[in-house]
Point group: C2
Chain length 267, copies 2
DNA sequence: GCTATCAGTTGATCTGTATCAAGTGAACCC
DNA sequence: GGGTTCACTTGATACAGATCAACTGATAGC
């Protein structure tokens, strides 16, 4: 069984731009960078149309700006832990996050990866049900749940957008439950790679030589296998010409249809 | 691999109270019973505080009443199928529902069971991501998504309540993904039984001799095992005194702590 | 340059659960 | 009352993927 490596909490006070407006889980790890500017509606990120606040009325954006907070983390930093009081949602500006649950004996299940434009940390008056950890150097936009809730009284579009994100996440979970409950190792790995590829395509990035932000262990803990099986399966795919591995962290998909067939047993 | 039995579509025109206000997926199967009365805020069900509309302002309840629809189904009836256009959410008034996804070769994964007071079918301008089927004779309250959305413009509490339900569902999915990805057969079955028991307790029903609305095949397709393994595991639990089976469809839990220990490998 | 570390890969073996097959008992029907 | 059906159980065997172990190559530190 897979055991999680302990996450070392590291203090980073080297940044010249740190200002702390309030206390929140993980704040000792975060660097608040007020100098961030970009093409996001509120000017605090460069997410453009991927930004949570994109398309909102001017005054809604202004309200969000006031409570928003841009945080930076290094790979392996923990944003919050399972059981922490859930006070904020996060939008990934750059980098990748994994969220996972641990069992008493150390077995770990990663329940989601989040990339640029993704939102995570939904939690209404309760504790976070999982731990969130940076996979790569990370920049996130943090929105306090309480403020978001207050705001949505007057701006229903805010709540509606959250609803949209959650609906999409629910649909994703249905797929992932199918993967974990009924798919073979080959199907799992194929499905995972395809999902990454399709996500890239939807975002306008090249769909084929896709970068793998996460290591083999993380992939294994996500698709419910061991590292060894993930590794063997990817080697097998390479041997069969289903994928190419220019480097361990880059996967090329020469024939999407073939990989898709491998992802649901129709091949 | 588990194969789903074909669901026989049955027409039931024997009811004297059928009135069809509009067309919707599965309407040929449903009986609309306008005569239902109860203690629910809108008078159309007896869910009491479990009702979706419980606690809403008078005029909100009135709006919901007008678009609400109470439907009845028999066991094995299909409410909607994966790929159908998602036009409504459902609240279970009585009985049980399972939702599942199928693979091309017939493998099936049940992604959720829904009981009295539960809400399912969330789907914002898209298709249902799964099929919903009655496990027992069923009564549901149907709410058109579009109307719900319109209503939430003026009544934010509606959207907020949906958000609450979805957040709870998301948390449940995290648990289920952990179960499917990392738990052993014993742990899966123990977790499943405990969840049913705790649900009953939360609802004020007796937590111990819990009725199993679903058959062994459905349990297997939910926890990602085969019928045989579920059956063997339950027999083993009985032999070890972890549970008792007064009938195949009733489970007594003499020692919750012991079963809990079995549910995460701490025993 | 030498060593340590760490991610990934590959090989040999073991095992938990699936698969295949048959048996039991309750409910239903003619 | 005898047969059919269907859900569940039990037994024997097979196998996919886990486990244990070793190897490779890249990166970092001194």
């Amino acid at each position: 069984m897979t055991r999680s490596s302990a996450t070392a909490a590291r203090l980073d006070s080297a940044s010249g731009l740190v200002t702390t407006r309030e206390r929140w889980p993980g704040d000792t790890l975060a660097r608040v960078d007020q100098a961030d500017r970009g093409n996001g509606p509120c000017g605090h990120c460069d997410l453009g149309t991927l930004a949570f606040c994109d398309g909102f009325a001017r005054r809604t954006v202004t309200s969000l700006m006031r409570v928003q907070c841009t945080l930076r983390f290094e790979a392996h930093d923990t944003l919050f832990r399972e059981g922490d009081t859930g006070v904020a949602v996060f939008n990934v500006v750059s980098g990748a996050v994994k969220v996972y649950k641990l069992m008493p004996d150390g077995r770990r299940q990663i329940t989601g990866f989040f990339f640029r434009g993704d939102m995570f940390g939904f939690c209404l008056d309760g504790d976070y049900a999982y731990t969130a950890e940076a996979v790569t150097p990370l920049s996130v936009c943090r929105l306090p749940m309480q403020r978001l809730h207050e705001l949505s009284e007057t701006a229903p579009e805010v709540q509606h957008r959250i609803l949209l994100r959650m609906t999409a996440k629910l649909a994703q979970f249905h797929d992932h439950v199918l993967l974990l409950g009924r798919k073979t190792a080959r199907e799992r790995v194929a499905t995972f790679l395809l999902a990454l590829s399709e996500r890239a395509r939807r975002r306008g990035d090249p769909a084929s030589p896709i970068p793998l932000a996460m290591g083999r262990v993380d992939i294994a803990d996500y698709v419910g296998l061991t590292v060894e099986t993930v590794s063997r399966t990817m080697t097998a795919f390479k041997r069969e010409g289903l994928i190419d591995l220019p480097s361990p962290n880059h996967v090329a998909i020469p024939d999407t249809q073939a990989l898709r067939a491998a992802s649901d047993g129709s091949a």
